[in-house]
């Protein structure tokens, strides 16, 4: 396969991976206060996206990125709120393990990575166009 086209495909797979990460961040921020419904129930659990290099699918050189959504298994925050529906016997409510600062950092990182991959696509495109221009010129 044409390496330039291939690099484009890899970069596009990264774009999708970063979009998925953005989706996870959106989900986490939206559900930062989502608690359980019954006393002592677990609240929303933070989602993370794991990236892996996919080497098998496209043969030699591979390198597209594969994503997997995972649960963040860290401990939940406890908040004292006896009147809450999900409060346990002592009056504590389990809150999601979402940290806003971490989410913001994740969002920013995903944007940077997205931009970097866009740049890869732009560069590959201009290289391919240069080649075609060569074909167009006379002499």
């Amino acid at each position: 396969m044409d390496p330039l086209r291939f690099s484009g495909e890899i970069a596009f797979s990264a774009l999708q991976a970063q979009s998925l990460r953005m989706k996870a961040v959106a989900q986490n921020i939206a559900n930062a206060e989502s608690t359980g419904n019954t006393p002592g129930a677990d609240p929303y659990r933070r989602k993370t996206v794991m990236f892996q290099s996919e080497l098998e699918r496209l043969g030699i050189g591979g390198g597209q990125v594969k994503t997997e959504v995972q649960d963040d298994l860290s401990a939940f925050r406890l908040e004292y709120n006896p009147s809450h529906k999900a409060a346990d016997a002592k009056g504590y409510v389990k809150m999601p393990n979402v940290n806003m600062v971490v989410e913001m950092a994740d969002m920013r990182q995903s944007l940077r990575s997205y931009d970097a991959n866009l740049q890869v696509i732009r560069q590959g495109r201009s290289m391919a166009n240069g080649l075609i221009e060569l074909l167009k010129s006379n002499g």
Partner: protein, 96 residues
């Protein structure tokens, strides 16, 4: 595009009294036709993918990738077609 290119490339092979093209006349036209057909396939696929992407059925990135690939294939095909047509014009202008 299909028609234009097939004519351009098969036309090259059909020039009478042009010995340099004679032996490959058959190959030229069939190669041109399959080339154009292949290009058409790419364009068709890009179009349907683009529509699916706009509708949100598939990730937008996939649609953009396919359209960009089609664009590149098309540009290359056009460049090659122009080359072939130019060669033909060059020959037709030749003083004998």
């Amino acid at each position: 595009v299909n028609l234009e290119m097939t004519i351009a490339i098969s036309g090259l092979g059909a020039i009478p009294n042009a010995p340099m093209f004679q032996p490959t006349a058959q190959n030229q036209s069939s190669a041109g036709a399959s080339f154009a057909e292949n290009l058409f396939d790419v364009m068709r696929q890009a179009e349907s993918t683009a529509i699916a992407g706009i509708n949100g059925q598939i990730p937008m990135q996939d649609a953009v990738l396919k359209v960009m690939e089609a664009e590149r294939t098309f540009a290359a095909a056009m460049a090659i077609k122009d080359k072939a047509v130019n060669a033909y014009l060059e020959l037709s202008r030749m003083q004998i």
